[in-house]
Symmetry: C2
Subunit: 759 residues, 2 copies
């Protein structure tokens, strides 16, 4: 394949002009918006606090008092198959498996003012508008759609903290901008704790909303400016009546009354427009105050040049993507750069331009020497997303580490984050995988880490008595299933985390800590059942739990993975795992079975968070505990099976289409797996400095490192069938191992894979 | 009467030891706690942010969906006739007619832990305890009571921002401190918007509560320390279930779990105690953050010496009371110093020790060069309370003016405060009487006022188009009753306020403003009906409303006063009022009738906020619009009738007993009326520099002014029957007028009344 062919490809989803492109043109934010990807198609800059994106429905959280499971589809607000848009909200998680956010929905309309969204089957029952994918464009930091009902062209872009809207109206004397603060994602009754809004003048509105969602005590402040004065405005307050309204009766609070507060608040702003008139809105958010939101707005988006703001945002993306530029076939280019895009959305900046942010203690803190981040979905992202940042964005990752340490310092539990959501801990999933992120950064000599503080925080977290079976784990050496559920998953993950702490302690010459945690890291042995050959739930009386179904994904003892998958979760001691499982030959056979067995339909019905596309045999790529598995063949002496398998996973699980993700992208972890694998290596055990080799899907890659050095990857004789690595050289010398070290990357150099179609 | 006799009196309510006293010993905080006074008996320092006081019931706000009118008795949390105490809360208004607050109830108990207050008739159904007034002591900044059920001695004191508790326990291994954040005053369903608490360590708890009460968006942050570690703690969360609690199931949140949040939160802390062990608590509040609350605590109350903190607080009171020390008979001493105490509770400091406070825009502001205050019950306090501060506490009043200007600057309505409640405007009552306070301070040359800004704020407020009939008032010259209720009261009060602005403009040489508002100040003429001789509601078609009942206190057109009382509300132009009403003779006859007419029982049933004790004839002293009336005889040439009447009002309306106040004390206005009248003069029209003379009830008074000068008042030949002033001299020269000027006080000097029993 000639290199030049990679420079010729299709532009966008619907046109066919071949020309040289910018890297951002390969990104399709619509990938993952159909089925289970849970990504959003809207505008955001890398790691931006604002994710301004369309919402395509407002399902009730409960129907007849029961959870409405269709709500789950709307974790990111948008479902590709929907026919209507209800508006554009400012905050979205990317790819999560539970959700929150969707703050401050804005919808432009024309004609009779309607303040309810209406229903998908009867859009005219409310303010929503039908739309067509033919009139929709999604690009990094830019989203455009025509709202056909109103003939309004909606365009969105964003800076880090400011969402920017540009609405092109038809001629009308009844143009409306609706600001709906009732809307939200996972919007169950009583989620909205309080909303406060003020019309400061005829172009500026401020306020905040506090919600009790996945973040229990979460507040978003805003400042919203219009490019031209509204002629009239009003509020709708659907809250329960405030008692002693007495002297408020002086006022008509619904119309041109500048302040409102309650739990269910909507606002509307009226304009006259000539055909083609644009109403632009800048909407800044802050975790601290409306004053800070206004400062964010004035600092980041002082003018009204939409195109300029958009171009600046796209330039940020171009710069990020160029840090690991590749040549590859068209599908790979699209998958790869979109994966890069999805890997660089979360975590998100959680700090105002003046350095202030809200801490876990709900106080205002000032970040000294770092940018504060939130949205740490650590059970997912410790695996590959943070390791990826350690290569491509070490400074940013060091700030994320500082943010985790700040979280620890503010924590009433004296624990590092488990899942950090906007000054809240939501405790999602298991383990204490912050320690993996911290250890990986320390072990890899990422600059700017307070190493002693990091180790202290890890140790304190791992010694917590009352966290999720940890007391039992510390005394028994395993979590007993009769005392604490998902006990196998927890025991295995704690053991891995403990090894991370040991690695970190070794690096810092803390022998005492090393001894303690290296010992703990062996606890995986305690849940291995030689009779079944699986990691298996054990009871507090020492016996293994009966009955036991190693196929069942709902089996007690496991979470988001069955015994087949979870039994392979000893990333820090794969050699010993292989021994436990009967040696290399039997281990390889076990892996082969995993990837090839035929499963009944009932299996898929019960497997959480992923579509059937996310499964190969019994290997569940759509959930994270398996992400290292394909690489384990290496340790068993069958690297060619790793090579074939990772290529197969890349091919089957990632497609450059809206339904192209086989499971939740999980804040970039699914995408980070793809990036590593496409480059030809993977961090099987973060906290180690090794990346295990697989089979690159790129032709070439150039990593531009922050230290100014360059690391190149070349796959000679790359091709669809040439999935095997005949040999690999590093800086011209043939590798006699199936891994490379972190420092070999940061020193700069050239890794060359010689590809072949022979095993 | 010999002077020395004033130094001999009864100590406290229940003992009879005669000895020289400190001024604070004359204060009985229980005055006004029975019936309608709405004062509280607990601990506070002058203008303190904390008012730590017992609560004697927790009535449901609604019974069967209807307002429970008994709740009204609990505006200050305490009713003297109650037999049980439910605990001690940290914030209370003094004497208001509607209410709020009651934040963070603390109750010490022994034995089985109970977390509900129980009912008054069955105290053991909850944690409340019976108590006896025989085991209760109330002093400035000190309250003590024995909780008989538990044999716990409870003692309370406070600094400006810290409530200090000292509980002396019996021997027990089950001593509890309950922190009930569900409790509140006017505690209707959904009033509690959000509560957040953290156990920082085994002696420190922090958190906040947001309420939607009379202050719509009001948050109080706290930091609470115990003098010794608790052995165990827990939370009770009565909130509706948070959705997606998923991974919170890792924890038992009810027991030793350090963080909780929700709408209905209670906490408990357990101790072992030996007999006589004291558990002390310092509970600091902040309008800004828990960090600031902790700083307030550490700054104001660093140690654990309860007695020292109490003595320091009482010293503050002693200093305040000594600013206008008197000699008088015992009843007068008790009434007077208690009135002084009640006049110096509200407004309250609303700012942390670091100068930060929450503004009306809900942002954190820093007060530069002033102390920020809230609790401005301006419809009441502009009349006498702020004028009293202008004499005795001009610096503090200048800070209150600065606080009002800050409120104006932060107001979305661009209005000065009407009723300022903790970063909220509650719009209570009518008029825009901030302008009176500002004008009075400007006219009286109070230092430290930004006069130009003050005038601007007054003018903007008075020109507001959509405030409470003001648009009609500006175009028609009166508020038309068919467009906006209480139209007579509003027209009259707007006219007075406008005159205040004119006075201020004159002082600042702003002729244009003077002309505009002096003209507006004449609008009182437009509601005078010559045919009835009363100020009477007028319709937008110019005609007077029919039918018309000048006796009815519910009559449309008036609020908190009938036509008899309100028709006399032209404090700024009494001479013209007298002309309108037919000249001096007829005017005097009108006043005589007012004070002497016999009213049917039905009248009392309908008159708001006051008991029968608050009425003389048809003169309603318990509501404020009449407060200047007794002094109007002066202008009609019958000063002896003023003299007799004010002495009569003082005698009938003020008693040194729990039921001694005939109506709501209204944040000190009722008390300030008493102080002025007892000294022998009254500010009939604040904004003028005149104080009209009455008849002093003191023997002597010495005003120690901030400028270092002293103004003395002497009533020669004072006595119960000698209510008439034969003559008065100022600095030795006989006065040929029935008023003195403000500067005559501030220059220092001696005012001598020569009293007689002859008219």
């Amino acid at each position: 394949m000639r290199l030049t062919s990679f420079l010729v490809f299709i532009l966008g989803a619907h046109s066919a002009i071949a020309q040289p492109q910018r890297l951002t043109d390969y990104v399709n934010p619509l990938i993952g918006t159909h089925k289970m990807g849970h990504t959003f198609p809207g505008a955001t800059v890398p790691f931006g606090a604002v994710q301004l994106s369309p919402e395509t429905d407002t399902l009730p959280y409960e129907v007849n008092g029961k959870y409405n499971k269709d709500v789950y589809k709307y974790c990111a607000g948008y479902q590709y198959t929907d026919k209507t848009i209800v508006g554009f909200a400012h905050t979205h998680f990317s790819g999560t498996g539970h959700s929150d956010l969707g703050d401050f929905l804005i919808m432009p309309t024309v004609g009779k003012l309607q303040l309810n969204p209406g229903t998908a089957d009867r859009p005219k029952s409310g303010y929503r508008s039908p739309f067509s994918h033919n009139e929709e464009t999604a690009r990094p930091d830019y989203y455009r759609v025509r709202l056909s009902r109103y003939n309004i062209l909606a365009e969105l872009t964003a800076t880090t903290r400011v969402g920017v809207h540009q609405y092109t109206f038809p001629k009308t004397d009844s143009a409306h901008i609706i600001l709906d603060a009732v809307y939200g994602i996972y919007n169950y009754p009583d989620k909205n704790v309080w909303t406060f809004m003020r019309v400061e003048n005829d172009t500026l509105v401020t306020g905040y909303r506090q919600t009790n969602g996945w973040g229990r005590t979460r507040t978003v402040y805003f400042a919203m400016t219009f490019s031209r004065p509204f002629k009239d405005y009003g509020f709708q307050n659907g809250s329960k009546k405030q008692v002693y309204r007495g002297f408020w009766r002086k006022f008509d609070e619904t119309h041109n009354f500048p302040e409102i507060a309650g739990t269910q608040i909507k606002a509307w702003f009226d304009f006259n427009t000539r055909a083609g008139d644009q109403i632009k809105i800048k909407f800044a958010i802050s975790p601290v105050s409306t004053a800070n939101a206004l400062q964010n707005l004035q600092t980041e988006a002082p003018g009204w040049n939409f195109k300029q703001i958009k171009q600046a945002g796209q330039e940020l993306w171009e710069r990020e993507l160029s840090k690991a530029a590749i040549t590859a076939d068209d599908n790979t280019l699209r998958n790869y750069y979109t994966a890069m895009y999805h890997s660089f959305i979360n975590p998100t900046v959680y700090m105002d331009v003046n350095g202030e942010y809200r801490g876990l203690d709900q106080n205002t803190h000032k970040a000294e020497g770092f940018t504060n981040y939130t949205t740490f979905s650590l059970w997912d992202t410790y695996r590959a997303q943070h390791p990826l940042l350690n290569i491509l964005q070490p400074t940013r990752n060091s700030h994320m580490v500082a943010s985790m340490l700040a979280h620890y310092n503010q924590s009433a539990h004296k624990m590092l984050p488990v899942w950090s959501n906007s000054a809240n801990e939501n405790w999602c999933m298991i383990g204490y995988h912050s320690v993996s992120v911290l250890a990986d950064a320390v072990v890899k000599d990422i600059p700017g880490i307070d190493r002693a503080a990091a180790l202290d925080a890890c140790v304190a977290t791992a010694r917590h008595k009352s966290y999720d079976g940890l007391g039992y784990y510390r005394t028994l050496g395993y979590v007993p299933e009769d005392k604490n559920g998902a006990s196998v998953s927890k025991t295995l993950e704690y053991a891995y985390d403990d090894w991370c702490i040991a690695r970190m302690a070794a690096k810092l010459n803390r022998q005492d800590i090393y001894n303690e945690f290296m010992l703990r890291s062996l606890n995986f042995r305690n849940v291995f059942d030689p009779s079944s050959g699986f990691m298996r739930p054990r009871l507090s009386n020492d016996s293994f739990k009966k009955p036991f179904d190693e196929m069942n994904t709902d089996e007690p003892g496991y979470i988001e993975g069955n015994a087949w998958n979870y039994s392979l979760y000893v990333p820090h001691a794969p050699d010993e795992l292989i021994q436990l499982m009967g040696g290399k030959r039997r281990f390889i056979a076990h892996l082969d079975s995993l990837f090839t067995m035929q499963l009944p339909d009932s299996f898929f019905a019960k497997t959480e968070d992923i579509s059937r596309d996310g499964i190969i045999g019994n290997y569940v790529h759509g959930n994270e505990p398996s992400h290292h598995i394909a690489y384990l063949y290496n340790e068993a002496g069958a690297p060619h099976k790793t090579q074939r398998q990772v290529r197969d996973i890349m091919k089957k699980m990632y497609h450059p289409t809206p339904d192209g993700l086989g499971g939740n992208d999980d804040c970039g972890q699914m995408s980070a797996w793809y990036i590593f694998s496409a480059l030809g290596f993977y961090p099987v055990a973060p906290g180690s400095d090794q990346y295990w080799l697989g089979s690159p899907s790129v032709a070439t890659a150039t990593l531009h490192l922050e230290n100014g050095k360059t690391f190149t990857i070349t796959a000679r004789n790359q091709g669809d069938k040439n999935v095997y690595v005949q040999k690999a050289t590093l800086n011209g010398r043939e590798l006699d191992r199936t891994y490379i070290r972190h420092q070999e990357i940061t020193d700069g150099g050239a890794l060359v894979f010689y590809m072949t179609d022979k095993e």
